[in-house]
């Protein structure tokens, strides 16, 4: 049968293509992992593909003696935890209030929020504001400006809209005020969507580097992991350093590639650990976010 043969061929080539794309996606990470476990003097000779040639954990031992990295690690963890808790709470609170149709001002607030998705002041006005508020050179600059993400509010709101009204009504009849309803009824029901946005927010905080670069480049005590990695990566960069005001502070002059890759892995591993949870929730999150705002 013509059709059957076509479909068989279709299947075989489909799986072949997918496996190829999958390998291409993962290989760069595997290569980095190999190099990070390879002796740094040996790495320079090149030719490391699938396995480390001279296995060593020295690179990791070296980088964990580097103070900037440890400080960065600590700060990134604090930023991620604090930012996530605050971000989830604020987004869910606002989303709950926005979802109440009896709250007449909610349309106004909605407009205020959604506007900012399309219009923003731009880099310099934001920088000037942060400067005028004396947030430059502080840790709070990581948390306060990004306290609320409108996308997350929209995601949580569309989830709350899908919850049955009866629960809230009965709580109200039992005499619960709105705060109690939010805290005791809505929050527990929203757990799946809160997990989704928590993971989004956490990844965002973990991956952020520009705020450190722009505001805290002169404050080594507030450095973050991504920023430290960037500094170390740039040490062998082809000349951007001339233009990079933050470069002069870099501790090492030129970091061997194996060291750079070891730090890269250290920065990536927390995401990798989080990923199984991420994977469970993100499909739902994206789909909810796509529901028209």
């Amino acid at each position: 049968m013509q059709k059957k043969r076509f479909d068989r061929l279709f299947d075989i080539s489909l799986y072949a293509i997918m496996i190829l794309i999958g390998l291409a996606t993962l290989y760069p990470f595997i290569n980095v992992l190999d190099i990070s476990f390879n002796d740094s003097a040996d790495t320079v000779k090149g030719g490391i593909h699938i396995w480390p040639r001279e296995f060593t954990t020295r690179n990791y031992e070296t980088i964990f003696q580097y103070e900037g990295l440890l400080t960065g690690f600590r700060n990134s963890i604090i930023q991620t935890l604090l930012g996530t808790v605050i971000g989830v709470l604020s987004a869910s609170m606002v989303a709950y209030v926005m979802s109440r149709t009896e709250f007449q001002a909610s349309r106004l607030f909605s407009a205020i929020f959604v506007m900012t998705l399309y219009i923003s002041g731009g880099l310099i006005p934001v920088y000037m504001l942060i400067r005028n508020l004396h947030l430059i050179g502080t840790f709070s600059v990581y948390i306060i400006p990004g306290i609320l993400s409108v996308w997350n509010v929209l995601i949580v709101r569309s989830y709350i809209n899908g919850l049955p009204d009866a629960l809230q009504e009965s709580a109200k009849i039992d005499g619960a005020n709105e705060w109690i309803i939010f805290w005791r009824v809505i929050l527990p029901l929203c757990q799946p969507v809160l997990a989704t946005i928590a993971l989004f927010i956490a990844v965002n905080h973990w991956n952020s580097w520009f705020d450190t670069y722009l505001y805290n480049g002169q404050r080594p005590e507030y450095t973050t992991l991504q920023y430290e990695l960037r500094k170390v990566l740039l040490t062998t960069d082809s000349g951007d350093s001339v233009y990079d005001p933050n470069k002069q502070q870099s501790l090492s002059t030129v970091s061997p590639e194996s060291i750079q890759m070891a730090i890269t892995i250290v920065v990536t591993v927390p995401i990798l650990l989080l990923y199984p949870f991420l994977q469970r929730y993100f499909v739902k999150g994206v789909t909810l976010g796509a529901v028209k705002s």
Binding site: F6, D7, F10, Y15, M18, I21, G22, A24, T25, L26, Y27, F29, N31, V32, I35, K45, S90, M93, V94, E102, F103, A105, F109, F113, T116, Y118, I119, S120, G121, G122, L123, I124, P125, Y127, M128, L129, P145, I147, L148, E178, V203, W206, N207, W209, L214, L233, S238, G239, D240, Y243, P245, E257, M261, T264, V267, Y275, Q279, V283, V286, A290
Partner: protein, 320 residues
């Protein structure tokens, strides 16, 4: 908030019915206000005050005087920007890179979603989806480290090139290959993630449609074309509007972490130009704000324009 404040002032004294009702409404929903106001306050400060800062574009900014007291300069910033060849470069590059992304990158997630949907083994499909989505969660800082590692002189790519008898190539240092790298690496990072939304649309298709088509003798390709694709069109339209609305963005994180002076000529986009002119070359904050303002204005126009075209010309459902 302004409302509630004014009602405290006037509502009681005048006893106007309308105002009192409004004030009662506020009291009735006091918990709502208590929950939302602190957050809204922060939000207003960080989202709306910078919009006021845009007046910098019309001023000759002086650090000592601050934004308010700096003198107006009669559109001098705009004249400076528009006559600056570096701005023209950055502008053209942004357009070129963004259109490149629309043409090269935009269709890939759709294709990937269709292919993933064709995989009939549920578990295998999920494994592949997991793999494809992973790079989305990795920052451009990390990815740029990984990319530099693969592309450097001793890196895997050059060894493959040598193996097949080609010359070594420093992709990061040549204009043409750098642009290619921008597209490829962004596909690597985002295609899997972006395909989720299309897969969600496909998930809404009744599987009986495929069975019926199969019985009628349609092969897999024909089923794909007649059943899957029409469902994806509306989702694609909305994603297209959003993509067009972001045309002036070009991808700051990616480019800022990958570019170098050797490729500024083709890779410098408006965002990187704004950053460098303000913080590296010190062209002046007024100048940089002007560039940023022009950028946002064009972005807004494009967003509305794209929405209009999608709704009126292609008769698809728009964004609003």
């Amino acid at each position: 908030m302004q409302n509630s404040a004014s009602h405290i002032k006037y509502g009681r004294q005048s006893g106007l019915g309308a105002n009192r009702r409004k004030w009662q409404e506020v009291v009735k929903h006091k918990y709502f206000y208590l929950m939302i106001l602190p957050v809204v306050l922060f939000f207003l400060i960080f989202a709306y005050v910078p919009m006021y800062g845009v007046v910098l574009a019309f001023k000759d900014f002086n650090y000592m005087l601050g934004i308010m007291d700096s003198p107006w300069n009669n559109f001098q910033n705009f004249r400076d920007v528009l006559s600056d060849p570096n701005f023209k470069h950055a502008f053209n590059n942004t357009l070129f890179i963004s259109f490149g992304r629309l043409i090269i990158e935009f269709p890939i997630p759709i294709l990937l979603a269709i292919l993933l949907n064709e995989m009939r083994f549920g578990r295998l499909k999920r494994i592949f989806q997991t793999v494809f989505t992973f790079p989305h969660f990795i920052s451009w800082v990390v990815l740029s480290g990984i990319i530099t590692n693969i592309l450097n002189d001793q890196g895997v790519l050059n060894q493959i090139l040598v193996l097949f008898g080609f010359e070594k190539n420093s992709i990061l240092l040549h204009n043409g290959s750098f642009l290619g790298l921008l597209f490829t690496s962004n596909i690597w990072k985002e295609a899997g993630w972006s395909s989720i939304i299309y897969l969600a649309a496909i998930a809404g298709i009744n599987p009986e449609l495929y069975e019926a088509a199969s019985i009628d003798g349609a092969n897999r390709y024909q089923q794909m074309k007649a059943i899957t694709w029409p469902v994806l069109r509306n989702t694609a339209a909305i994603m297209l509007i959003l993509a067009v609305g972001g045309i002036m963005n070009g991808g700051f994180d990616q480019i800022f972490n990958l570019y170098n002076p050797a490729v500024y000529e083709r890779a410098d986009i408006l965002d990187t130009f704004v950053y460098r002119s303000a913080f590296v070359d010190s062209t002046g904050f007024g100048y940089s704000t002007t560039v940023g303002l022009l950028k946002s204005a064009i972005n807004c126009l494009l967003l509305f324009g794209a929405n209009f075209v999608v709704k009126r010309v292609f008769k698809e459902e728009g964004l609003y």
